[in-house]
């Protein structure tokens, strides 16, 4: 059975790029264009990893992570922030919200696959 990744980014180009990368690593990919759209996927289905942008309209990445951590079935789901922001204060904000890791764009596809591979539980 394929592992499932939820990708959240308001840029269709970036979603396509991340989706292509994770699909090449064998993931089935779900996509949301902002945090609120992404929450619709938290309906009890199994999700192996969430990769989310930070700056998005409607609901940003920090708010999404807090929402994910508040759902009983997703408290321990790995959530990676993939963002242009690299300031330590923002990273700390992400850590406090419950992020598993913080990747700064532009991302190295091989590195993204390696990081996702480390945080996703093996079947």
């Amino acid at each position: 059975m394929n592992r499932i990744a939820l990708i959240v980014d308001d840029s269709p180009s970036m979603r396509a790029m991340v989706a292509h990368t994770l699909a090449s690593a064998g993931f089935e990919v779900l996509q949301g264009e902002d945090g609120r759209q992404a929450t619709a996927f938290l309906d009890g289905r199994h999700i192996d990893v969430v990769v989310t942008d930070l700056n998005m309209p409607v609901m940003d990445g920090i708010a999404l992570i807090k929402h994910i951590r508040a759902q009983p079935g997703y408290r321990f789901t790995p959530v990676l922030m993939l963002t242009t922001e690299s300031q330590e204060t923002r990273k700390l904000e992400g850590k406090k919200a419950g992020a598993t890791g913080w990747l700064v764009k532009p991302f190295n596809p091989e590195q993204l696959i390696a990081v996702v591979g480390k945080v996703v539980k093996q079947p």
């Binding site: 269709p12 990273k91 598993t100 913080w102 990747l103 700064v104 532009p106 590195q111 990081v115």
Partner: protein, 185 residues
């Protein structure tokens, strides 16, 4: 182009981005590079970037990711200033063939132009003006508070340092792209 405006503008170069809310002027000089001037009318936030798609083994197989990064930096910064992403419009400039070797279909200028036009279509950002391609350099001045843009076309011969600068940029001597770092918590 009002001359005094260009003189007092904030200047950006390759890899640069400048955003402001309300009155402000930014300028840049383009050869084969692209400058995207974005404006959001309700918040009166505007910004400009300056980039080109890098080449070389380090960026294979997809140099477009660096162009996407340049655009995302600009858009995210505009959103931080209060711009509504859905209301942004664009004016695009650059992609000039300023070197004698630039004429092939996969040349740097043509790839840059192809990238930015495809990006705008995919991101659903309306392009309300463009001056792309050709065989001239451009001085672009952009008013962040109104979205007005001014372009002066320049013959490369009128700027003797431009071919040398272009070659440096393409060799990666300037603004060499690199991937972001990773922090695990």
């Amino acid at each position: 182009m009002p001359e005094r405006m260009a003189e007092r503008a904030v200047a950006i170069h390759v890899g640069g981005v400048h955003v402001a809310r309300g009155p402000g002027v930014v300028r840049t000089l383009l050869g084969s590079c692209i400058a995207a001037c974005l404006f959001e009318p309700t918040s009166r936030v505007g910004g400009m970037n300056h980039f080109l798609l890098p080449r070389g083994a380090a960026t294979a197989p997809d140099p477009a990711r660096f162009g996407i990064h340049a655009m995302e930096r600009l858009i995210n910064r505009m959103m931080a200033y209060g711009a509504d992403r859905g209301g942004i419009v664009a004016k695009l400039f650059g992609g000039g063939h300023v070197l004698a070797t630039d004429e092939s279909p996969n040349s740097v200028p043509i790839q840059n132009v192809r990238f930015i036009q495809e990006f705008m279509a995919i991101e659903d950002i309306p392009v309300v003006a463009r001056d792309l391609g050709g065989s001239h350099a451009r001085l672009v001045v952009f008013e962040t508070g109104t979205g007005k843009a001014y372009v002066r076309r320049l013959r490369p011969a009128a700027m003797p340092t431009l071919p040398r600068t272009e070659r440096r940029i393409r060799r990666g001597d300037v603004a060499r792209p690199k991937f972001g770092d990773v922090t695990m918590f």
